[in-house]
């Protein structure tokens, strides 16, 4: 009740919101914000050069100098984790953007024109569905070579059917609504109706799809770098760090793998929790 009175303090507003959101979503949201900020300000936040080698200090445990210890070449793990946020977020972001645009374009044109175009698009999507994303990614890497871009392109292709299937169903629903017919009677072109009305109305659903896909894309990309098919050493990348740290586990120094694994899991879980929250808020979802 008191929150509605004019005397309420504006700075308390976020606190009230957090209280209604629940602690799980709130902390997930906080983690997401922190990770994004770290990615933006990575070069200024890292206490050391992430690629500075110090063989005399290899596999050092936690200390004030190296809060998370060092890896097998004596590189500071905290700095490498921080540097790794950039590739870690940029990859999934590109995947959801590319698959979102391509998937929506396919879905809306299939739903709008119907007929043979719809049939062809649906068949192609069904067949794409049969490609496990990881196999597709590995094949594309075999053709184009390892690096940042090849896995991103491959995953974008693998995500298109997931986006397009949901968007096509939604576009079909939207198309049958009276406002579309009303616009058509007024003489607006199909392109105008699609771009100015249909797609904007589908935008919240697309946003939710992208948010949910973000976590999965991040996991898949981390798997690919773990397999050694993504960014190559000495790049600071979480999946790569997990794989590179594996021999050190045998030497009794699991910190590199464990820190990077925790970073991946916490980030993915946080982004997914926030995405699920958005999905229930905006409807649609799954």
């Amino acid at each position: 009740m008191t929150t509605l009175t004019p005397t309420r303090r504006a700075w308390l507003d976020p606190v009230h919101r957090v209280a209604t959101v629940g602690w799980a979503s709130a902390s997930a949201g906080a983690v997401c914000c922190v990770v994004v900020l770290v990615a933006v300000f990575a070069p200024w936040l890292a206490p050391h050069d992430p690629n500075a080698v110090d063989p005399l200090n290899a596999l050092a445990p936690f200390s004030a100098e190296h809060p998370l210890g060092t890896d097998d070449l004596g590189r500071d793990l905290l700095s490498r984790l921080i540097a790794g946020t950039r590739a870690g977020l940029a990859g999934p972001l590109l995947v959801v953007l590319a698959s979102g645009v391509a998937g929506t374009a396919l879905a809306v044109s299939a739903a709008w024109f119907g007929g043979w175009l719809d049939a062809v698009v649906s068949r192609v999507l069904d067949i794409l569905f049969a490609f496990p994303g990881l196999v597709l990614a590995i094949t594309v890497v075999a053709v184009f070579g390892t690096g940042f871009l090849a896995p991103v392109v491959a995953l974008s292709i693998a995500f298109v059917p997931l986006v397009a299937r949901v968007m096509r169903a939604a576009a079909l629903r939207e198309r049958s609504l009276p406002y579309v017919e009303a616009l058509r009677v007024q003489g607006f072109s199909g392109r105008h109706i699609c771009l100015r009305h249909l797609v904007p109305n589908l935008a919240p659903l697309l946003f939710v799809q992208a948010a949910i896909g973000f976590g999965y894309a991040m996991l898949d990309l981390a798997s690919i770098s773990f397999l050694g098919l993504g960014l190559q050493p000495p790049a600071a990348d979480w999946g790569l760090m997990i794989a590179n740290g594996q021999p050190s586990i045998l030497a009794g120094a699991p910190q590199q793998s464990i820190c990077a694994a925790v970073a991946v899991v916490v980030t993915v879980v946080s982004f997914t929790v926030v995405a699920e929250r958005l999905a229930t808020r905006f409807g649609g979802g799954r």
Partner: protein
């Protein structure tokens, strides 16, 4: 029965078409790639003119595209898919030496997923509340454990600290192989297992709350009969569908599990060949994995249709 045969036939046609299109896409990948297909097939390094000529002849690279594709496909179908130029071995020999490990790994992981996942879900849905809380809590954590994370944690705890299991390799003899494959199978199945547990739990819950179950109990049927005939039977199709999809997904997942534990299998061969740009091997393996994925999905659809004949009539099943 006729409806079922018709259903199987339709599904089989779909599988064949998907695999055919997949094979075309996989073969065409050679032409999307920058550079000369012959040197790509040779592994992208500096091949000798002699080796290039051999590849040109083997793949009929001087023929039109359709003829090349046909030669490759008929080679694959007749069990002679060519030779890895990088390793200097026939692709069939490379696959033959590794297929058993992958089959064992996928089988082991499936048993874990179906055995523990489904049992856990049923116990969680029908058992004591404390058990339910424990199982739900555990699965919440495990669902977020991707195979590569599970792998390093398992290596750290069970192979190094406790030294219960070997770290690398595949072992010899059946018992030794199972011993070697335990950690990879657990790593591969953990998040799927948790997911199947959750799905089973919610499906069994939903089935147990149906009115006809209360009616059956009110008629005085034994609890065991009610559970078996009315609850579990109704919960089975969705659980089976989900488990089937996860088992199909295991084929792709073997890449991570085998690579992490140094198990020589098809998945690790695919990864290593991709890193070497050994396209001759990658093409065949990718096609195999896609075919396995599609086939398992089809089997699940058919078993589901047997369990729930209503699916036979619907044009499209999930």
């Amino acid at each position: 029965m006729r409806a079922l045969l018709w259903f199987v036939g339709r599904k089989l046609a779909g599988v064949l078409m998907t695999v055919a299109v997949a094979s075309l896409a996989i073969f065409a990948a050679l032409y999307v790639a920058p550079g000369d297909p012959a040197s790509l097939l040779a592994g992208g390094h500096q091949p000798s003119p002699d080796a290039l000529a051999r590849i040109r002849a083997q793949y009929h690279l001087d023929d039109p595209f359709a003829a090349q594709y046909w030669h490759w496909l008929s080679g694959v179908l007749s069990g002679n898919p060519g030779e890895s130029m990088v390793l200097g071995e026939p692709v069939t020999a490379l696959i033959g030496a590794r297929v058993l490990n992958t089959a064992l790994l996928v089988g082991y992981a499936s048993v874990l997923i179906l055995g523990i996942g489904v049992t856990g879900g049923i116990v969680s849905a029908l058992g004591r509340r404390s058990l339910d809380v424990a199982i739900t809590g555990t699965t919440t954590v495990l669902i977020a454990a991707p195979a590569f994370v599970a792998a390093i944690v398992l290596i750290w705890v069970f192979a190094i600290e406790l030294a219960w299991f070997p770290v690398y390799g595949s072992g010899t003899g059946f018992a030794d192989r199972i011993h070697h494959l335990t950690l990879p199978a657990v790593a591969l199945s953990l998040s799927y297992l948790a997911y199947v547990t959750r799905v089973t739990r919610s499906e069994v819950r939903a089935a147990a709350e149906a009115d006809h179950v209360a009616a059956a109990a009110a008629r005085g049927l034994r609890r065991r009969t009610v559970l078996r005939r009315h609850v579990l039977r109704n919960a089975a199709p969705p659980v089976l569908a989900v488990s089937g999809v996860t088992v199909a997904g295991l084929f792709a997942g073997t890449a991570v599990a085998e690579q992490a534990f140094g198990v020589p299998g098809l998945g690790s061969l695919l990864v290593q060949s991709a890193a070497r740009q050994d396209l001759a091997v990658v093409q065949v393996l990718a096609l195999l994995l896609v075919a396995a994925f599609v086939l398992v999905n089809m089997l699940v659809d058919v078993v589901n249709a047997v369990l729930d004949p209503r699916l036979l009539r619907s044009g499209e099943s999930a």
